[in-house]
Symmetry: C2
């Protein structure tokens, strides 16, 4: 993408309405634009990050054996009357009447709908287990939306739903998602600590929140430093190995981690003092095992192995995909702007042409741009070098390839690593190899 033709509008001023760093930086770097309170349009750079986050989530869901579907945003009220949640949900649910005065709603979550869909097809125990997920826009009409995409009203969520014939099966499905979540967040360069959680309005008796540490987080958190140093996500455990996965799950969850609402002072005392970590955190994922709460209410039943009806055991598993973009920035920024982790950066590199119009400089920039293709943005604007440096730092590309007349004459690129600030003079070939992570 050539910046002279791109729609990558950066702001010099800090928007007054933004209270936290990620919100400020998303507006300033031109990732999003508010269209109503708590509702955002994603501009090209923001959308590229959102898609990369989404794709990592998708790959780890697929790897864990979940199957992708796509449910609509608009749901009929009847489904929620069947489960008994229509009235409970209160004003957070966006309620709608269509032209025929039918009661509809913009889905805040999909337990009811997926149970209804699964019910149409599942007849026998042979049709289970299954885990169905989708990545779809949801709406929750927050009283005071704030913090940009961290607590918006229209947001992108991955939600998965598992169906099993037994409690043991359902617990295995739960652990599969637990492992998938550890892997998902690690791939984004995030330390997400799984904390035993309250089940809240979903119901049920087993639940974990995955929490990223950030000073601006909503919850107080207490955890063992082992979560920072142990590579659990990299463990060689298969999602299909029932015993191995259980042992893995028990090992991880026996290490202390709790939000303030579930904090246990006695257990905390048992953690060696030098390993106690306290701070604040942002929830980026939440998993639930809730048994037959929805299947029983909505009449989902299959023929068991002996022919008698069995009510499937269910769980649900959410990841806040759009929220993650904000959380990633909270965890990766400095005064100058965003420092994107490689895995989710909108582009791997920016090519900064310090002297547009200088033939040798232009030629070297064009050569590099042609070879990096869609991995790079090319700042070919007729702007001052200072403005280009500031914008590249703000937008947070992992690499900056800085090319001016002196470098072009010597066949050298000044390569800057945004995360560390390190700089090196390298050949074009070496620059390409580094940018590609080779």
């Amino acid at each position: 993408m050539r910046l002279s033709r791109a729609f990558l509008p950066t702001l010099k001023e800090t928007p007054a309405e933004a209270q936290i760093a990620s919100h400020r930086l998303m507006l300033r770097a031109g990732l999003i634009r508010q269209t109503s309170a708590g509702i955002y349009a994603w501009l090209p750079a923001g959308l590229r990050v959102l898609r990369k986050v989404e794709q990592i989530v998708r790959e780890e869901q697929d790897r864990a054996g979940a199957q992708e579907i796509l449910m609509p945003t608009i749901q009929p009220a009847e489904l929620w009357r069947e489960s008994g949640r229509y009235d409970d949900y209160g004003k957070e649910m966006l309620r709608i009447r269509d032209r025929h005065e039918r009661e509809m709603l913009f889905g805040p979550t999909n337990e009811e709908m997926v149970t209804d869909i699964f019910k149409q097809f599942a007849k026998s125990y042979r049709d289970l287990p299954r885990n169905l997920y989708h990545i779809q826009w949801k709406f929750r009409d927050e009283v005071r939306p704030r913090f940009g995409v961290m607590r918006g009203r229209e947001f992108l969520m991955k939600d998965a739903y598992s169906f099993d014939v037994s409690q043991e099966g359902a617990q295995h499905s739960y652990r599969q998602m637990f492992l998938a979540y550890l892997r998902t967040f690690q791939r984004m360069g995030l330390t997400a600590v799984p904390m035993r959680a309250d089940t809240g309005p979903i119901g049920g008796d087993l639940s974990h929140e995955f929490i990223i540490l950030a000073d601006t987080g909503e919850s107080g958190v207490f955890y063992d430093a082992a979560y920072e140093t142990t590579d659990w996500a990299g463990a060689d455990v298969s999602s299909d190995d029932i015993e191995g996965l259980k042992a893995f799950f028990d090992r991880v969850t026996s290490t202390y981690a709790a939000t303030d609402e579930m904090h246990d002072a006695a257990a905390w005392e048992a953690v060696p003092a030098d390993r106690r970590r306290e701070g604040r955190g942002i929830e980026v994922g939440h998993i639930f095992y809730f048994g037959t709460r929805y299947s029983a209410a909505m009449g989902l039943s299959v023929a068991g192995q002996d022919g008698a009806p069995v009510i499937p055991e269910m769980g649900s598993y959410g990841i806040g995909v759009s929220r993650l973009v904000g959380a990633l920035i909270e965890a990766n920024h400095d005064e100058a702007g965003i420092k994107w982790p490689d895995a989710v950066a909108p582009w791997a590199a920016a090519i900064l042409n310090l002297r547009p119009g200088d033939a040798a400089t232009d030629a070297m920039c064009e050569d590099l741009y042609a070879r990096l293709g869609d991995e790079a943005v090319y700042d070919d604007r007729p702007a001052r070098a200072g403005e280009k440096f500031a914008d590249a730092d703000l937008m947070g590309f992992p690499w900056q390839a800085i090319i001016g007349p002196r470098g072009a004459a010597a066949g050298k690129v000044e390569l800057k690593r945004r995360a560390t600030g390190e700089r090196a003079e390298v050949s074009l070939e070496d620059a390409i190899a580094k940018i590609r992570g080779a």
Copy 2:
């Protein structure tokens, strides 16, 4: 995907509510499931097709220089009051009040919102031209939704919006999309004829509909057979070549094509009788040039080259992405089921194991499945061969690799091409090469 573990539910009975072939087949092949009138959930096979169609659309938009953004589904009513369309749109617009009694709506299209977003950033003629598109779910509250995804209420649309400083520039942008549309539909194996169209509620004075021929179409169409035989989409014309693109556009549009509402009997008489084609068609794309209709109403203006304000000239360009899945089936099916074109098939091949439990058959099937990976579904169900043949024909995979004990002993796969019914006994290597289109 192993069918024994997949969520690919097929129906034996023809659903009573489905009046047209694509709707019947989408339900029977387990591509979609209705959740409310005119609203559908996409099951795994359907979603894979939808994503492939979407990706072809995206690639051709990008190639034409359009930039992807993502606007939200929920819009504020004020924007539509600015353009004057809030009252005009009538009951087709799904109107919503949020918890603070603010008037919102589920977007049926995005002229207003994109103009408002662009206005925040575009200050000077140097910020133009730009073409911004998104692929997002829309809602139109049809009185009588019918024909499945062909005329649903919640539907996936690609809509692009161009901004230019001059009429000539805007016409070039229009022609760029015209070319992109020809290429998009051709890549899906469809003959989409561009027909001069009425501009309708969007306003403006230049418009083309892209229409696919199908007996179940909504409009009567008249066109020159040249559209069936000329490879316009393959023309060697660059999107950036202003003169070349204009000549190309004039060449295509001078060939007769019109819907019944724009039909010109005199011009029709001038088409040689043996080249006159009459039939019915389905609209899959619609492009508009409408000048300053929205930019003027919404206060979008930039500084021109002489410093004086210029009101940008705009166009909008839609493709019905979810509708295309239905249209593709209308154009590619027989009595037994769907015949997916290679470019959009959910999986390239089905591997049919005719004797699960037979060691040699299982081994050969597993070998082929391991090597095709995500390109194949493996029918490993303990079902009769007849049921497997029927399901594979119904679901419409371009290739069927049929393996039984006799073939396995001889190291042979029976490879069937769904589109033609041709069969051949081939080696495993040859089967893989054919399935991959090598």
